[in-house]
């Protein structure tokens, strides 16, 4: 009972804090590499509070979907963060089938697209079109990787796949590393981060995610920003879980140390993304399939290993 309560406490704390800290770490790393001091780590939280206090303008052509979509998206991602084992500690949750989780992600994307199309602005439309193309390309990568994990561990329940008591995958570092890489590569696409889309610019030639949320303001925008950051922490957290399970020694460690490894891993990934975003150049739109192809390749390799029955 007490441990369950502690789990809930830490889980709620990480749902609230992880998105802000990860976003702050990425921005801080980028600022440092550009020889700036950068905003404080918690700046994202201040931004959210500022946005929440601002007034809101809604286009007169927008229907109820425009404002409902952000709330639906937030609820969706909160549900995903409860179901997906993106932290090594988690409160009780019902079994989460991996197909359910992948298509919950798809559902939150659909509502973002609808909200973008709803106002009838040209920017929203092309942002939605680009996002739809990207999601079409990136879905097989994520799905194939997770299915490879599921096939090796003989279950499609994501919690069961990632549980430390499931020994099918314990001595299988190769598949964990490949799936972790596939998830991180596809999450860069999914979250419209650097080689695909520059989250800091509002140049019409390049933006994807920013174009879709251009019409949102005030509290609506605050919800969308937080949803996006939470989705980022869930995806990065999932890849951290994959990477840490690649080391067979981690499986037998006490829970508290695993939790610490998770937090350190999340911060490391955030810093790595920051470094990568400072070094990388945004890809031409036509070359993006070549980037996504690498994510699919990692998943294909993982699937091959799953077919071969696991490789040590």
């Amino acid at each position: 009972m007490i441990t369950e309560l502690i789990h809930w406490l830490f889980f709620l704390l990480s749902v609230l804090l992880a998105p802000i800290v990860i976003l702050g770490t990425i921005r801080k790393t980028k600022a440092r590499l550009q020889a700036r001091r950068g905003a404080p780590i918690l700046q994202a939280a201040f931004d959210l509070i500022r946005l929440a206090q601002k007034g809101e303008t809604v286009s007169s052509t927008a229907s109820w979907i425009f404002r409902a979509a952000s709330t639906i998206g937030l609820c969706n991602v909160l549900l995903i963060s409860w179901l997906v084992p993106w932290l090594s500690f988690a409160p009780w949750a019902p079994p989460a089938d991996l197909f359910l989780v992948v298509y919950l992600f798809a559902m939150s994307r659909i509502f973002t697209l609808l909200a973008a199309l709803d106002t009838g602005s040209a920017f929203g439309a092309f942002g939605a079109s680009r996002e739809a193309t990207l999601s079409l390309l990136v879905e097989p990568a994520a799905l194939l990787g997770l299915v490879a994990l599921g096939a090796t561990s003989r279950t499609s329940d994501l919690r069961e796949i990632f549980s430390f008591t499931n020994t099918h995958l314990q001595m299988n570092p190769a598949i964990w590393l490949l799936v972790g890489t596939a998830i991180i590569l596809s999450s860069l696409v999914e979250l419209s981060r650097m080689p695909i889309d520059d989250p800091t610019t509002h140049l019409e030639l390049t933006m994807v995610h920013e174009a879709m949320i251009l019409e949102a303001s005030g509290r609506n925008l605050a919800i969308i920003e937080f949803t996006h950051a939470l989705r980022m922490s869930v995806l990065f957290g999932l890849s951290v879980q994959c990477f840490m399970r690649a080391a067979p020694a981690v499986w037998k460690l006490p829970e508290i140390i695993q939790a610490m490894i998770t937090i350190i891993g999340l911060l490391t990934i955030a810093m790595a993304v920051g470094v990568f975003e400072s070094l990388a150049v945004k890809l031409q739109w036509r070359r993006i399939p070549e980037f996504i192809a690498y994510a699919i390749t990692m998943s294909l390799l993982a699937a091959l290993i799953a077919v071969a029955g696991g490789i040590v």
């Binding site: 001595m171 192809a293 699919i296 390749t297 091959l304 071969a308 029955g309 040590v312």
Partner: protein, 217 residues
């Protein structure tokens, strides 16, 4: 559950790196990956020296690392700079699709080698053979799906690596003199091909092999 030895792991990793090579259209990235592939093969050669009690394999490993993974990529990079070619846009199949098919070919060669009789007593049996066959197929795919003469050379080098890996993992090591002869052949071959590419560029003002059949007036 398959348990791999270190040798098998390194050669399989080199096969995977070669497959990743097919996906990039940047020739410089291709050369980097080729260098990494060959370094892994050199490491595998060094690892084979101990169980087979063939100290000469260590020398060969050093030669491979020095010549094939450093000298040849540097020479090709130099040639590329001279003729100002940096990117091969590919022909027939788009590079991402070609990369996925080369991964599938890796799986195919894995299946194929399960039926091969493997000589006992060597460091790596089936999995080494599947890495070798996969490297050959990947090189073939690279040669088929690219247009530029430089890419043809790289594809040829990958095939050569594949044949070497197959020989390395299926035998107890070849005599030093033969290995050195092959290495010299590869080096001279690449030198000649590089110079030829240079001449082709000079004469035709491109190195696109798809257009080489056109008559020049």
């Amino acid at each position: 559950m398959i348990v791999l030895t270190n040798i098998e792991l390194t050669v399989l990793m080199s096969a995977v790196l070669a497959a990743l090579m097919v996906g990039s259209v940047h020739l410089r990235v291709n050369l980097w990956l080729y260098g990494a592939t060959t370094i892994l093969i050199a490491i595998a050669t060094g690892l084979t020296a101990y169980p087979n009690e063939e100290p000469s394999l260590l020398l060969i490993a050093l030669l491979i690392a020095g010549l094939k993974s450093i000298a040849i990529p540097l020479f090709l990079a130099w040639t590329m700079d001279r003729i100002h070619v940096h990117r091969d846009l590919g022909a027939l199949v788009a590079p991402p699709i070609a990369m996925h098919s080369s991964i599938l070919l890796l799986g195919l060669s894995f299946l194929l080698t399960q039926g091969l009789p493997t000589p006992s007593g060597t460091g790596a049996g089936w999995y080494g053979a599947s890495a070798g066959i996969s490297l050959v197929l990947t090189g073939l795919l690279l040669m088929l799906t690219r247009r530029l003469a430089i890419s043809q050379i790289i594809g040829f080098l990958v095939i050569e690596n594949g044949i070497y890996v197959f020989a390395l993992t299926q035998t107890r090591g070849m005599p030093l003199i033969i290995e050195m002869g092959i290495l010299l052949d590869v080096l001279v071959g690449v030198m000649l091909a590089g110079l030829l590419t240079f001449k082709i560029q000079e004469t035709f003002e491109h190195i696109d092999i798809a257009k080489l059949t056109d008559l020049k007036d």
